[in-house]
């Protein structure tokens, strides 16, 4: 059927006395005919019915002699296929040229990348990744056939050590970079031996549960930042109670320390207040980096500009370099205003409350807080001494070594 449509086919009505003779003569010329049926209700002068059938367009030319010999009358009812379509298009040259141009344009556009998507990133920002790709000549508008996928994957793993798996694929005109970051990086160090636990804050030890290692402090002791709390080298004594060797481990403990955090923030009571006016929207058409504005221009004075970019996409991954930017402009005027004392105090208190809330979210227990608000002309400062109980301990490599039998250099 496709071949017939490609070469063109016609539907004919055959009338006359010797229709069967005509069919047989066509068959002898090896002309293919199909869908032969008697036409309902139509009879000619001699009260014989007509036959409707289909044949190839080129075959109709060949059966002219058969038509003449059999004396039948042939009427063309319908013409189908590419040759007739092209003939019809001859009257619509511009339309056909437009369709052809669009197809060629699409084919040319599909040779380049017009969108880059980064998936699976948390620590590595999308901007960072795109900047890295641009440094390696991979960006919007780069040619698809020149992208070295495997080499790019190696370079990404080299550049970002936190990334454990990376995949660079292309779908349509979109380059998709999928990454998996190492979530257990910090925890892997737990399995390293030779690690002491040292204090990262000053304070008083409130509670201590040692899981591994030798504790060098007790509950109630005051420690300073950098002091060793738990030693990762467990001494092994011989029968004379001398240290003969050390068994190294990764010191682990849950230690709570009471410490004081100093919080301070200053604000200026003089501030700028914006009064916004009516919002206006205008559109920009972007084609491959160039922008063309539609509508009125940007008003004078200061204004807040919000831009939303829509890129043309056919199907799911076939992005094209056509953009429609919706730009919302809100002009505003700034005037000076002064916070009252109460307003400024409220702002500073809110800021402190937020800081304390963030601390408690991290598991820090707040015991006491001493808050002072200092007024200094047009500035106000909040100073708070917050006593908290928090977990302490940072792992570092132990420095304990057995140099001679019975002695150590800690």
């Amino acid at each position: 059927m496709r071949k017939e449509l490609l070469n063109g086919c016609v539907r004919l009505r055959i009338t006359g006395e010797s229709k069967e003779r005509f069919l047989n003569m066509c068959r002898m010329k090896k002309i293919k005919m199909w869908n032969l049926k008697q036409e309902a209700g139509k009879r000619d002068e001699l009260k014989t019915s007509s036959i409707v059938m289909c044949m190839g367009a080129k075959d109709l030319v060949e059966c002219k002699s058969a038509i003449h010999k059999s004396g039948v009358k042939v009427d063309i009812l319908e013409k189908k296929g590419l040759p007739f379509f092209l003939l019809h298009l001859k009257k619509r040259v511009v339309f056909a040229a437009g369709v052809l141009f669009c197809m060629l344009f699409l084919i040319v556009m599909m040779q380049k990348i017009w969108c880059i998507q980064i998936e699976g990133n948390r620590k590595v920002t999308t901007r960072e990744m795109i900047t890295f790709l641009e440094e390696n000549d991979i960006g919007i508008g780069c040619i698809i056939s020149k992208i070295p996928y495997e080499e790019l994957e190696f370079k990404i793993r080299d550049r970002f050590p936190d990334i454990t798996w990376v995949s660079v694929v292309r779908k349509g005109t979109t380059l998709i970079v999928r990454i998996k970051e190492n979530e257990f990086y910090n925890q892997m160090s737990v399995y390293d031996d030779h690690m002491d636990l040292i204090a990262d804050y000053d304070g008083e030890i409130r509670s201590m549960v040692v899981r591994q290692g030798v504790p060098l402090v007790r509950v109630g002791d005051t420690v300073s930042k950098g002091d060793i709390l738990i030693q990762g080298a467990v001494p092994v004594l011989d029968e004379n109670a001398r240290i003969c060797k050390y068994q190294y481990c990764h010191a682990q403990a849950d230690i709570l320390i009471r410490t004081t955090i100093q919080y301070s923030e200053t604000i200026n009571r003089v501030h700028l207040v914006r009064s916004y006016q009516n919002e206006d929207t205008y559109y920009q058409l972007g084609i491959a980096g160039h922008k063309f504005q539609i509508g009125f221009g940007k008003p004078e004075g200061t204004c807040l500009v919000q831009e939303q970019v829509h890129q043309l996409v056919l199907f799911e991954y076939l992005y094209l370099p056509f953009f429609l930017n919706q730009v919302k402009i809100t002009p505003y005027e700034e005037t000076e205003a002064i916070y009252t004392k109460e307003e400024a105090e409220a702002i500073l208190q809110n800021s402190l409350e937020k800081y304390l809330y963030d601390l408690s979210e991290k598991g820090v227990q707040i015991i006491q807080k001493n808050v002072r608000i200092i007024e200094n002309g047009l500035t106000m400062q909040i100073v708070a001494d917050v006593t908290v109980d928090r977990s302490v301990g940072v792992s570092t490599e132990t420095t304990v070594e057995l140099t001679e039998y019975g002695e150590n250099n800690d």
Partner: protein, 92 residues
């Protein structure tokens, strides 16, 4: 002479299992229910109407009676008839 020749041919077909359509020049008819019919090894179409199609074979004629009979395709070596086939008659 023809009778004797016929006897020899029949004997050869029986003895050696030769295909009868090739030896006798008979037509091959494939029927799908009473809806469809494929015919091979025919001479030509003698008469064609919605209710009756007459096809001439090598030795006789075949009349197909039915309703809404349509020739789906008509090729050099094969033709297919579709429609409701009521009767198939072989006439001399």
């Amino acid at each position: 002479m023809d009778k004797e020749k016929g006897k020899i041919v029949n004997a050869a077909v029986r003895r050696f299992g030769l295909p009868k359509d090739c030896v006798y020049g008979d037509c091959m008819v494939y029927l799908v229910g009473n809806r469809e019919m494929v015919i091979q090894n025919y001479r030509n179409v003698c008469f064609f109407e919605e209710s009756c199609i007459v096809i001439s074979l090598k030795h006789n004629k075949m009349e197909i009676h039915g309703k809404k009979l349509v020739i789906s395709y008509y090729l050099d070596d094969e033709l297919r008839i579709e429609g409701r086939i009521d009767q198939i008659l072989f006439a001399p």
